[in-house]
Amino acid sequence: MANFLRFAATRAVFAIITLLIVSFLVFSLMEMVPGDCAERYLAYKNTQGQNLTRDDIDAERIRLGLDQPFLWRWVNWVSGAFVGSFGESCILRVSISQLLGSKFLISAGICFAALVVAYLIAVPVGIYAAATRNPVVNNALRFISYLGLALPNFLLALIIMLIATVYFGDSLSGLFSKEFRDAPWSWDKFVDFASRAWLPIFILGWSATAFALQTVRALMLDEQSKLYVTAARARGLYGRQLLWRYPARHALGPIVNSLGFDLNRIFNELPIVAVILTLTEAGALLLEALARSNDQQLAGAIIFLLTATIVGLNFVTDVALAALDPRMRNSVIGGKRA
């Protein structure tokens, strides 16, 4: 147990180091934008008819702490970011966590739902595809997997919109109906949300499903040709019993490990799918911040949160695998890191 805790602790340290590197990257990106927060805010005020001088800018800079050295400001930003506080948006002058709050949760919810759907489809179908010798099934799956790459989610979204508009006269976009858009969360709002969220969930899960299918199938094919499967077969096991009890368990490890990357892939498409389907959540906010309002604080916070979610998921899967997989468990308890 002590060994297991030590393993979990090392993993946690690695995760935090990764996040620190990412935060440094994101923070440097935010800083590299020409003109700092004070300048841009006051330039905006100028357009509103207020006349501001150089001194005002300097005073504002001191108020925002922009006169501090770069590294110190990074430390400040990071220590805030780890407890979920990202300061104020440069342009909007509202707390970023307030601005993002529920929107980020909605995004994360949609993305995780997409991930779950992807694996709910990919695992059984992939196992079946690996077991069957039916060439039609195999070729069809191969084609779908390739299409998962060639038809990226946003193109799929566009095509679905095209079909929906032409045949149903409704573009199926948006996350909430009009009456619920600004209402507080309630059961009715949730039902309304669910009735609309299935499309983004399906579209976001699309390429993850295609890739997961390929992974599951390849892993199962690898495992099936191994001797222990032959041995089990020789003992008279067959069909589902054989597949689920032996090769499927072995293939589980790499599949769980690939979850993080699939989430990454889903996040990747989030902003663009959000634009096409006019979703009002963090992905759209990110695009808004970057393309229109040039609000680097907000954009940085979103990118950091997305990455933190992935790192968190990676940490959880690592630890869960160490707890579940006897091979990993042994190597962890034996003191060797896998």
């Binding site: 020409p34 919109m161 970057l290 393309a291 990455t307």
Partner: protein, 373 residues
């Protein structure tokens, strides 16, 4: 009989690596078909100026046929058949009768015959100004895939877009390749703490979702930059973000290979590091790297498309698929002008072809693949 198998064996054992890969690649029907399609698309992209009947930008726009439907050449109609395909002429008018809106009518009396190797818009090709195009019509203009809201020919734009995407992809792949080779090479060759630190950075960059990162970087481009500058900057961004996966592979491969017996043997024979890297280590994974490059190509193309689509990437007058798709989410386009989506088919074909060829190459480059089957 034995004679033949003997010579076949001899051919097998004396063949170079390239010949072996080609022999194995040729056996895969899917990959071969994809390779042919890919070849055709690349050629059409390279010679886009010649294949496309008109200039892809405003210079080639047909003001009399904006948002025009695709014109499909036909051989026969009610008035009889002709050996030379033709399209109908269109008239555009605005009057009291049409409620002062521009209305385009097809005039089935007015046949316009398709001609080949016609003179048209001028273009630069290796410094030579040419004006020959593969096809055109004797009078007016032909728009196989229709036109957009400014009358720009979507057929011409599609092939120019393929060229742009190939160019962006190539530049991005080259940049990420150089970075991957350098960083992965350093990590793999030195190992130890240098490797540890580099791996940590590589992994951290790999965790950040790429497209949001692209978006953040692309937001730096000032509005005053020209389309060409944007083009180079976007390619550089794609390369700068795309290297970690390949770097990791190079590093892992080097870490394994540098402890192999053949490297030790070379060392014992007195070969220097440079000689070992050039003559032994590099050839041991060139084929893998080529495969990786082919596989990473479609990702570059897709990322560029995504960026341009949301307006952070390339912009007119540079034509890329993302640029072509920029306006397609408008209800007007979705309902009335579905031909805006024709370029999508070409891009799906292009990416699919790359993926199939990459997969085929991967199987072909694997020297152990044959024994397993």
């Amino acid at each position: 009989m034995t004679e033949i198998s003997q010579s076949a064996k001899e051919a097998y054992f004396t063949a170079s690596q390239g010949q072996l890969i080609w022999a194995r690649f040729r056996k895969q029907t899917g990959a071969m078909v994809a390779a042919i399609i890919l070849g055709i698309l690349i050629l059409m992209g390279l010679f886009a100026d010649f294949v496309a009947p008109y200039d892809p930008n405003l210079a080639g726009a047909n003001q009399d046929y904006t948002n025009g439907a695709p014109q499909i050449p036909r051989f026969c109609d009610d008035a009889g058949c002709s050996a030379r395909p033709f399209i109908y002429g269109v008239k555009r008018e605005r009057s009291l009768a049409t409620n002062f809106r521009w209305v385009t009518t097809v005039d089935t009396e007015d046949r316009r015959y398709v001609q080949f190797l016609v003179r048209g818009d001028r273009y630069q090709w290796f410094g030579v100004t040419l004006d020959r195009h593969l096809f055109g019509v004797d009078e007016g203009k032909i728009h196989l895939f229709g036109t957009d809201d400014l009358g720009k020919d979507i057929f011409s734009r599609t092939f120019h877009a393929i060229r742009t995407s190939l160019a962006v992809g190539t530049l991005g792949v080259v940049i990420s390749f150089v970075m991957a080779l350098t960083i992965g090479g350093i990590a793999g060759f030195y190992g130890g703490w240098i490797d540890g630190v580099l791996q940590m950075i590589t992994d951290a960059i790999r965790t950040v979702p790429a497209i949001p990162l692209f978006m953040a970087l692309a937001a730096f481009i000032p509005d005053t930059w020209t389309a060409e500058m944007r083009f180079f900057f976007i390619s550089i961004i794609l390369g700068l973000v795309g290297w970690p996966t390949l770097a990791r592979r190079v590093r892992t491969h080097l870490l394994v290979e540098r402890n192999q017996d053949y490297v030790l043997a070379a060392k014992l024979s007195g070969a220097g590091s440079g000689h070992i890297i050039r003559r032994h280590l590099l050839p041991s994974f060139t084929s893998y790297i080529i495969v990786d490059l082919v596989i990473s190509f479609p990702y570059m193309v897709l990322s560029e498309t995504a960026l341009s689509f949301i307006g952070l990437g390339l912009k007119d007058p540079v034509t890329s698929l993302g640029v072509l798709l920029q306006n397609t989410t408008q209800a007007d386009v979705l309902l009335n002008y579905q031909w805006y989506f024709i370029p999508v088919l070409f891009f799906v074909a292009l990416v699919m072809a790359f993926v199939f060829v990459g997969d085929g190459l991967r199987d072909a480059a694997d020297p152990y693949g044959e024994h397993g089957k």
